[in-house]
């Protein structure tokens, strides 16, 4: 089973409401990644790994649909050292009865992702989502990996970040119980 485009639009609108004033495109991308890959919601995305972390253009296509339906509004901002769209909640999208039930049943997961990752910067979200991507790949390949191996693998994907900085993120995730790494054999 996979969610409908309208349900995904509603999830984006929900994030925009919960994180009003601090939600950018990178955040939307990575929060949807966490929802699907960590909480197992069947969003139907296929995330690929880039230097900017896990990414599926369909997420931004859904955001475009949300904008065109008025479910969210995007405004471009410049700030010191960067720029980007700030996404705010608009009018609630009309949903089928089935989608209404589904989004209501997803509230725990959406709330959890918002609490755990909603305050992170775009840069931090990129690093932490890449950590999960790498850890999940290792799990899929049934490889036992240590914290240092994960950090090295993330650095190979994101060579513009130091291993030290990446390690700090992995430690944060460990401290919050978000990631459990078995020791390397």
């Amino acid at each position: 089973m996979s969610t409908t485009p309208k349900l995904r639009v509603a999830i984006i609108a929900d994030f925009a409401e919960k994180l009003s004033g601090k939600l950018g495109r990178t955040a939307i991308m990575k929060l949807m990644f966490f929802l699907q890959e960590l909480k197992g919601l069947p969003l139907g995305y296929s995330f690929r790994i880039y230097t900017y972390g896990p990414y599926d253009a369909q997420v931004l296509a859904d955001l475009k649909v949300a904008e065109s339906m008025g479910a969210v509004q995007s405004e471009y901002f410049d700030w010191d050292g960067g720029s980007g769209y700030l996404i705010k909640a608009g009018k609630k999208p009309a949903l089928s009865e089935e989608d209404k039930k589904l989004i209501s049943s997803f509230q725990d997961e959406i709330g959890w992702v918002t609490r755990e990752f909603g305050d992170l910067s775009a840069t931090d979200l990129e690093v932490e989502s890449t950590v999960f991507f790498v850890a999940k790949s290792a799990e899929r390949e049934k490889q036992k990996v240590s914290l240092e191996i994960i950090a090295r693998a993330v650095h190979a994907i994101k060579p513009h970040h130091s291993e030290g900085r990446i390690l700090k993120h992995i430690e944060r995730l460990q401290q919050r119980g978000l990631i459990v790494l078995p020791q390397a054999a």
């Binding site: 089973m1 995330f47 690929r48 790994i49 065109s68 910067s121 775009a122 840069t123 990129e126 790498v134």
Partner: protein, 443 residues
């Protein structure tokens, strides 16, 4: 430096690459010539690659545009050519950054150039007969709770059928030491090997070599102008641009390439509406899918695993056409053979309002069993989707920007959400009358 440039020049004149290896040149209607070296020639000689000569790029689009009969074979060569041009463009403009910030040395740059070429060349080897049309008949990928996609087949085929020609070729053994998995990983978006993720954008992004080639090629063969844009300008201005929010390097263009990139996005929009989502092509895609379902054992393609992959590779357009010619494919096979396709009776605007959608649902309900097909643009393989990409800062000290922010046209583009209703040809007049009656009442 000067000597190196001269060597390159003479190498090209003599039909060799910059290392002096003699190249085979293949004629291409888009680029003139596409050069291949001995290793690549051996790869394309593999039966699993030659199969692409028997997979049409645009399925039954020739029912609308009669010359659109080209295949995945020429597209794959074209993607390799375009990917190389993009790669070389990035290296030419960002060599210092690659070395100082990302740790590249010349050997690494040469190795990844080859990685990108091979991934681009092989990215489509997993296509089903008639390309995307039958993709919904791929079996369930249990582990990922989704259907398999042609990329899953491509990577499985690379890891099995192409492993030997990749790993054992003397060029690889003596120079690159690639494993087939490294190439497959880049295609499936799981390239965690050192530095490889940097080139993922060339394989899959708004500026990837695949869509840059297919827009030009499909446009050329269909005989339409909509897909044409100034690709040479893009290649001449492509560079690694810091992501506007995070600063991570990603594929973008300089300010000088902005209008060429804008033209490419517009080309995608035009080609979607005029070719890929053409009302008649959509109907033929549906008939083909239904006919394939009737032909395939269990209504599904064999899975991309060790047990079934060989059988999957036996499926190509020739086999399907043979089955159709022998009366296979059930009712829809017959419809394909006699050009008795479903007819469009109603479509929403490109950007339907809530009342447009309500009207559509009402009409669909009223048509009942007469409704033969409901087709949504948002589910098409070619849908416009995201259209943004980064543009480098105009002046030093300024931030990079998104194309949507500096282009009013791209900034205002929305994904098409058109939905269409089709009926059997014999039901068309009755359905149109019914729709007219309902709409008349509503007015």
């Amino acid at each position: 430096m000067q000597l190196k440039e001269e060597a390159k020049f003479f190498a090209v004149i003599l039909g060799a690459n910059e290392s002096g290896v003699l190249m085979l040149e293949v004629r291409c209607p888009i680029y003139g010539f596409i050069a291949l070296d001995d290793w690549e020639r051996e790869i394309i000689s593999e039966p699993a690659f030659q199969r692409l000569r028997r997979i049409r790029q645009l399925a039954w689009t020739d029912e609308v545009y009669p010359a659109a009969m080209h295949t995945r074979f020429e597209h794959s060569l074209g993607v390799m050519h375009m990917a190389t041009a993009l790669y070389d463009g990035v290296v030419q403009r960002c060599r210092d950054m690659l070395k100082s910030e990302l740790g590249y040395e010349d050997a690494g740059i040469t190795r990844h150039r080859r990685l990108v070429r091979l991934a681009a060349l092989l990215h489509d080897v997993g296509h089903a007969p008639f390309s995307h049309a039958g993709e919904d008949l791929m079996p369930q990928f249990q582990e990922e709770k989704r259907l398999y996609k042609h990329e899953d087949y491509s990577t499985a085929i690379i890891r099995s059928e192409f492993r030997d020609v990749i790993e054992s070729h003397k060029s690889n053994v003596n120079n690159y030491n690639f494993k087939a998995d490294e190439i497959a990983n880049l295609i499936e978006g799981k390239a965690t090997e050192s530095g490889a993720a940097l080139w993922q954008d060339i394989i899959s992004s708004q500026l990837d070599a695949d869509r840059m080639d297919y827009l030009l090629r499909d446009s050329y063969h269909a005989g339409v102008e909509y897909g044409r844009y100034d690709w040479r300008r893009i290649v001449a201005t492509v560079e690694l641009v810091p992501d506007v929010e995070s600063g991570s390097p990603r594929l973008g263009v300089s300010e000088q390439g902005r209008h060429a990139a804008e033209a490419m996005i517009i080309a995608r929009y035009m080609m979607f509406n005029q070719v890929y989502f053409h009302k008649t092509r959509v109907a033929f895609d549906y008939h083909l899918q239904q006919a394939l379902e009737a032909m395939l054992p269990g209504g599904k393609f064999p899975a991309p695993d060790a047990k079934e992959l060989k059988e999957y590779l036996n499926w190509d357009d020739w086999r399907v056409l043979g089955e159709l010619s022998n009366g296979g494919g059930g009712e829809h096979g017959k419809r394909l053979a006699t050009r008795d396709f479903y007819r469009l009776v109603y479509e929403t605007p490109e950007f339907p309002s809530e009342s447009d959608e309500a009207q559509l649902d009402k009409l669909a309900a009223a048509l009942g069993n007469t409704l033969a097909l409901r087709s949504e643009a948002g589910k098409s393989w070619y849908k416009l989707g995201d259209t943004d990409l980064p543009v480098a800062a105009l002046n030093s000290g300024e931030n990079s920007r998104l194309l949507s922010q500096c282009s009013t046209i791209v900034g205002n583009m929305k994904p098409t959400r058109r939905t269409r209703l089709y009926v059997r040809a014999e039901d068309r007049a009755k359905a149109l009358a019914e729709i007219e009656a309902i709409r008349g009442k509503a007015a």
